[in-house]
Structure formats: structure tokens, C-alpha cells
Amino acid sequence: MDKEVFPLESRVNTPVVLSVSGLSKSFFGIEVLKDVSLELRSGEVHGLVGENGAGKSTLMKLLAGVHHRDSGTIELSGAPVDFSHPTQAHEAGLSTVFQEFNLLPDRTVAENIYLGREPRSGILVNRKAMLERTRELLDQLGITSIQPSTPVSNLSVAQQQIVEIAKAVSYDARIISMDEPTAALAGPEVELLYSIIGRLKERGVAILYVSHRLKEIFDLCDTITVLKDGEVVGSQPASSMDDASLVRLMVGRPISAYFPEVTPGTIIGEPLLEVADAGNEQLDSINLALRTGEIVGIAGLQGSGRTELVEAIFGAAPFTRGSMRLAGEAYTARSTRTAIQHRVALITEDRKSQGLSLNQSILDNALSVIRSVFPGRTNQARQDAPGVFSSLEVIARDLDQEVQYLSGGNQQKVVLAKWLAISPRLVLLDEPTRGIDVGAKVAVYNLMRALAAEGKAILMVSSELPEVLGMSDRVLVMRDGLIAGELSPTSTEEEVLQLATGARTEETPS
């Protein structure tokens, strides 16, 4: 292995390994990328940011040979290339961690990593070599918690993401593009990713890094390129930018209050939801109270049971012991249906697989809850729909457009709209801003504030600590299926992490 170290200062002088110029791409008449130029140097982490639909993933797919460019040139170490299939990119030393998961759950880690280029002896696949090489690869990256022969479905979501990254690295790539690699990661896994990226830099690998988490961009990147509507609107050293200037570039206007203030007139009232000594196979000793007009944030590491908690309250994976009260009355969420009848809403963490029927229209998705649970109110809700969508600032051709053609942010707004239709009393939000752009995020935050002002109770799970701290009235921290403690929103991120990782065990201010 190449053990040469590139000290920070010398980066600018390292050779250009990837140079893109004048790249354009349209999807049947709509120009998604316009004249994009970019340079990537060896050992450099190059941040690529922009709103949803700005064209970041498309750019990566062009580089990876998934799509074919309309015009422009791509040069690898000075030599023009023209990939028509991801394999060619791999062979040329360019690999990609795509935005969507790209693993086969029923195959082992090793089989996944070497999929499509299984080591052979003769015509037979050499499984031993495959396992050994995977072991070596994981060791090199400092990953100890994953066994090469484990089926991927047995891994946690975070571990799966790590496997994806390991897979990209395994191509011995000189350039690795990562499309939102941390979208499913929190805390220690992000740390692990940082350290992997560190090692890759040491080896002189150039990394193109897409993320909506600005903190990571500033932590990791040497250079930042901002895309807006398919055009590069800025490309500068990270040191020359700050949060505010970056956001201004991305959205084209300054965003003054990132986390909106509490709406005047919001009153934190009586407890709406009370959970006492509740638990199931994944959770235990859950005690919490949630008041009207209150936003409570739940922080914790990946796999700490936050999703299970909201799913239990929502009846998707019910509590098997303990008790709950809703507005003073006994509340047993045996199924999602009972929960919805009690006007409890859950915005799930995975929009595409849990939140939307992608082939159906915006209107059909928006009415889905009403139709399933309160069919009598369908007409009413249909007439309300335009109002809801306009207040959420949804951008679409019309209400009959299929949801699959919307951008991530607009899709999330459709999910919100379908829950607003039942005028929920209790709103459970699981990673409500995952993978959506700053503008859409602010819309979600505003909506949360507005709901609180109307006297609804809100429970929000998020892996983004600034978001949890910025939006919540109180913060609960989970660890291993238990509520590890409660913090005030004025706590620091370090305090939250200490509680979440178990570095600090108890004592709760209240």
C-alpha cells in the first residue's frame, strides 16, 4: 500500500486526478446538469452540496457510468474517459457509494463486496480467498465489528452503510464518490466514517463527498462545490466559507433563522401522552409524558431503539407491557389503525419504502390515511387538499402527478400532507428531514412550530443533533432500548453524545 502522507498544506499541489468540464445532461428535454466543471485532486475531500434535485446524484452517476453524459469531457489523470457501465469506472479506479442502498440482504458481507468480481481459481469461485480478502479489507479500514461471512440482513443499518463504503474502497479506487454516506449514520459510525476517510486520504485517494449535513462538510472537506439547479454556483476552499455563506449559495438567498423561533402563543399545556413502564422485545422501562404544544426530541445512536419507540406508540410494533394514556384516557395501540383512530400520526424514517405509494398520484397518497381509516371524510379531505399542499409549498405539475417523479423534499411534504389530513393530536416524526434540502427542512420546522402552536404534541426522532437541540423543548436520549436520560435543549452536543454512548450514565436535570 501507498503509505505516503500528504500533509494538509501540500494538497493544493497534488496532481489532479479527475477533471470534469462542460458536463451537461438532460433527461428528455429537461436539463438537469448544465455545463458543470470540477477538479478533484489526489488526497483531497471535495464536498458537493446543493438543494434536493440540484443534480448531485446525477453528476455522480455520470461519473460512475450509470448514465451517459450529453456533452462535456471527463478526464481521469489527464486521459479522457467514456464509461458506459459502472464496471468500466471501477476498472479505471473510480468507485461510488450510491445514495440508495446497494446490498443484497440475503448474501454475506464478503459476497456483497466481491459481487461481480468474485475471486476465482479455475472457473470456480474461491470462497476462502474472498473471505480472507474481505477480512483484510475490513481490518485495513479499522472495522472490527463486522464478520465477512455474516448475511447482510443480520447487520444494523449503520453497519450496512459501512459495508457499502468498504465495498467502494475494495475496488482499489483512486477516486471514491460518496452520495450522502452518513444519511443513515449517527455518532460513532460517523466517527468511523471520518477515520476511514482519513485513511483513504493518507493513501492519496480523492473523495467526492455529498451531504446535506453542513457540519460534516466543514469537518471533512478541503474544497466545496455548490450546485444549484444543475449549475455550479461556487467552488472554493472550505476554509473560505462558513455556514451562512454556504447556505446562501445553495438556496440563492440568505436563511436567517435556521431553526424558527417558537411561534408566539404556543402554550405547553396538559400531558397528552403518558407512557408508564412500557416495553416490548426491543424496549424496556419506557416512561415519558408529552404535553400539548410541546416538541420533544429523541436523540440516540443508530439502533438505540428510537424508531422502535415511536413505532410502539403508533402501534406498528406495540408495547407488550406497561400502559399508555392519551388525553387522560387509557390508550392501547394494538395496531396502527387504532392509533390513527385516536388521531396519532407517524411520519416514518424511510419515505420510499414506508411512507409513499410511489406509483400513485399526489392526491391518492395524500388521501390514503383518510381512505383507510375514515373513508367517510374522503370528499372533505379531497377538497382540502389544495390548501394543504399550497401551505406546504409543494411544487408539482398538478395533484395527479405520480409521487415517484417528485424530488425528495416534495415527497416528504406529501407524506406530511397525508397526516395533516386527519388533524392529528399527537405527531410522531422519525427523521423528518433525512435527505431533504435546507429549504425543505425549514418548511418542515415551520410546520412543526405551527402544529405545536395549535396545541398538538410532537415527538421527533432525529440523528442530527443540532436539529434535536434546535427544535425541541426537551430532549430524551435513548440507549439500548432504554431512555438513558433527559436533557434540556441548552445542553451541548457532547452531553447528548456522552449519554447516548454511555460515557456518562445518569443524572438528569429536569
Binding site: S353, L358, D364, S368, R382, Q383, P386, G387, D398, N446
Partner: protein
């Protein structure tokens, strides 16, 4: 009172303004494979009439619709199951079972017609219930459940009747499938099966626009998401299976009248129905397709057979021609869906704009 009516009016207007016009939606629908089948059907009809002009006479056409009614009704039933992402292979056996029930229980006794008719519907619903519950609650793939049902049901029927029905049921019962309203101007006759088909199709169309129908499609598209929106997925799907068996029951009732009691009545119905549904642009796996297209698929299939008949294609080759046409039609449909998904159809990239109630122009610049 009138004020709120007014408010209603404007709200409907706003809704309308935020949707494509009905014509637009129809046009868009026609460009999908589900719409394409109507064009295929028309083309086939023209070809048949060209081959044999007398087929185009109203009297012939209405009789043709009448005799295609049972398979079209079965296709509508199969549509419910397929659009929810499942299969119903037991349909043919249900038809045969119902034919035998009618033959053996009604006999020559007119008084038994109504009670047995009731029993047949209960029986149909029951079979669907079993199919649905085993599929949804025991999580056995419906292909397997209904395959097992197909074997078991037919076996039971043949076992308990010794393979032959006592005889054809009373004429009053058979009139449902054989008779019609006579002396109609132009048409001469409107066969009852035509009326039953029209009613079934209208009911199916209505049902698919009801919350149940929309939920059914949503379940077929993404059952996890549908479950999380409070849909009782097991019950939604089970009802689809019941609708399928019930439509097989209706098809059976017509066929008893049309053809009489015989063990081969209903044979292969499941495959014909599935073929018709797929020809109608409905995607195996669920979540896409229009109910009337399934019926149109059945008509296209029958028209094709008639065409082959009139063209004098050697009868042994008909299977082959049918096979080729099915593959070509479905391949064409698959290409269309795919192009659509890839965004080929410019329609998917039509200018987008904020969805808004019209009066307030430009209010989205709230300057966050």
C-alpha cells in the same frame, strides 16, 4: 346554507384547478399500456369486421359481447387480486365448482333457484376468504395458496360428484346465461350476460374509485406504507380474493346457462383471466392498471380468437399466434412503462409549479 354551498363550490373549483382536466387525464391514461389495450381492441375489431363484415352488425356484436361476458367478468375479478400484488389461480376451479353446485342442487326445481343462487355466492365468498386469509395471515405466497386451492377444490368437486353432474339445472336458472331481452330494435336481443357484464363493470369502476379501491391499489404498490397508514392490509387483500371468487361465481352462473354443466367448463379460466388482465396493461406485482382495461383485455383476447377463426388460420396454429401476440403486446407495454419510468415521456417533466389556491398569486415567496 347557500353560503356553505357556495363555499363548497369554490373549494371544488380550486380542487379542479389543481388537477389536470378530465380530458387531459384521459389522454394521459390512454398513453399508458392500460389505455393502449383499448386501441388494440379497436384495431382487432376493425380487422375482424374487415374479415367478416357481418360480424359488425349490431346483432352479432351484442351476441359477441354476451358470450365474452363471463371471461371479462372473471378478468375484472382477477384484476382486483393482481392489482393488490397477488395471483388467483383457483378461479377456474371455482367456476367448475359453481357449475356443479348449480347442476346438482337446483335440478329441475324452479323453487330452488334463489336459495341455491344465494348459496353459490356464499360459497364463492368463502373460497375467496380462505385464499385471502391463508395468503395474508399465514404468509403463504398467493401463487401457492391458490394453486393448492385449485387442486383441492376441483378434486373435492369431482370426488363428491363422481365427476358428473346429475344434469342441467332448471331452465329458469339457465336463462340467466342463455336468455336476453328480445325484440329490441336494431340489436334484436340484449343477452342478459351483457347486462350482467355492464353492471359488474360499472360496479367495479365505482368500487375502484371508492376509498376501498384506492387503498387496494396503494396496498399493491407498497403494502408496508399502506399498513402504516392504517389500512388493514390483510382484510383489504382478502376482500380482493373474495371479489375474485365472487366474479368467478358470476362467470359460473352465466356459463351454466350458456354452456350447461360439464367438468370442462371453467378449465383454464385462471390463465385466460390473468392473460387478459396483463394484456390490459395491469402490472403483475400490483399497484398499476385500470380495472376496465382488464375487461378490455378479455375482449381483445376473444376478438383475437374470432379473428383467427375468420381468417381460417389452421386451428392447430392458433395457440402459437395467441402466444406471439401476448408476448408482443406485453413487451410493448413493458417498454412503455419503462420509458415512462426513465422519464422518456415528456409528460412527466411538464413544467411544475407550486400547488396553490388560485386567488393568492405569488404568495409562496414567503422569504424564509
Amino acid at each position: 346554507m347557500s353560503v356553505s354551498e357556495n363555499a363548497q363550490g369554490t373549494r371544488n373549483e380550486i380542487l379542479a384547478r389543481n388537477r389536470s382536466s378530465a380530458g387531459d387525464r384521459l389522454l394521459r391514461a390512454l398513453r399508458t399500456p392500460s389505455g393502449g389495450v383499448f386501441i388494440l381492441l379497436i384495431a382487432l375489431l376493425i380487422a375482424v369486421i374487415a374479415a367478416n363484415p357481418s360480424f359488425g352488425e349490431p346483432g352479432s356484436l351484442i351476441r359477441f359481447i354476451g358470450r365474452t361476458a363471463p371471461i371479462a367478468i372473471a378478468a375484472i375479478g382477477q384484476y382486483f387480486v393482481i392489482v393488490s400484488g397477488e395471483f388467483d389461480l383457483s378461479m377456474g376451479s371455482v367456476v367448475t365448482a359453481q357449475v356443479f353446485i348449480a347442476g346438482n342442487l337446483i335440478g329441475d326445481d324452479d323453487a330452488r333457484v334463489l336459495p341455491v343462487l344465494g348459496l353459490m355466492f356464499v360459497f364463492g365468498a368463502f373460497i375467496g376468504l380462505i385464499n385471502g386469509l391463508v395468503t395474508t395471515l399465514l404468509k403463504v405466497p398467493s401463487f401457492i395458496v391458490t394453486l393448492g386451492m385449485m387442486l383441492a377444490l376441483l378434486g373435492m368437486v369431482l370426488y363428491s360428484t363422481g365427476g358428473a353432474a346429475t344434469g342441467n339445472p332448471a331452465d329458469s336458472f339457465r336463462q340467466i346465461g342463455r336468455g336476453g331481452i328480445r325484440d329490441v330494435p336494431v340489436l334484436e336481443i340484449i343477452p342478459y350476460p351483457v347486462i350482467i357484464f355492464v353492471v359488474t363493470a360499472a360496479a367495479a369502476l365505482w368500487l375502484m374509485r371508492r376509498p376501498y379501491g384506492r387503498t387496494l391499489i396503494a396496498v399493491g404498490d407498497n403494502s408496508r406504507a399502506a399498513a402504516l397508514t392504517g389500512a388493514r392490509v390483510w382484510w383489504v387483500k382478502t376482500r380482493a380474493f373474495m371479489l375474485s371468487s365472487l366474479s368467478a361465481t358470476v362467470a359460473g352462473i352465466i356459463l351454466v346457462g350458456y354452456a350447461g354443466v360439464h367438468p370442462s367448463v371453467g378449465r383454464g379460466y385462471e390463465f385466460t383471466a390473468i392473460t387478459a388482465v396483463v394484456l390490459g396493461g395491469v402490472v403483475l406485482g400490483g399497484g398499476r392498471g385500470w380495472v376496465l382495461s382488464a375487461a378490455a383485455g378479455a375482449f381483445a383476447l376473444e376478438t383475437l380468437f374470432t379473428l383467427l377463426n375468420f381468417l381460417g388460420v389452421e386451428s392447430t396454429w392458433r395457440d402459437s399466434v395467441q402466444g406471439i401476440i401476448i408476448i408482443v403486446a406485453v413487451a410493448a407495454a413493458a417498454q412503455t412503462w419503462q420509458r415512462k419510468r426513465r422519464g422518456a415521456s415528456s409528460r412527466t417533466h411538464e413544467p411544475t409549479h407550486p400547488i396553490a389556491p388560485p386567488p393568492t398569486v405569488g404568495t409562496n415567496e414567503r422569504g424564509i
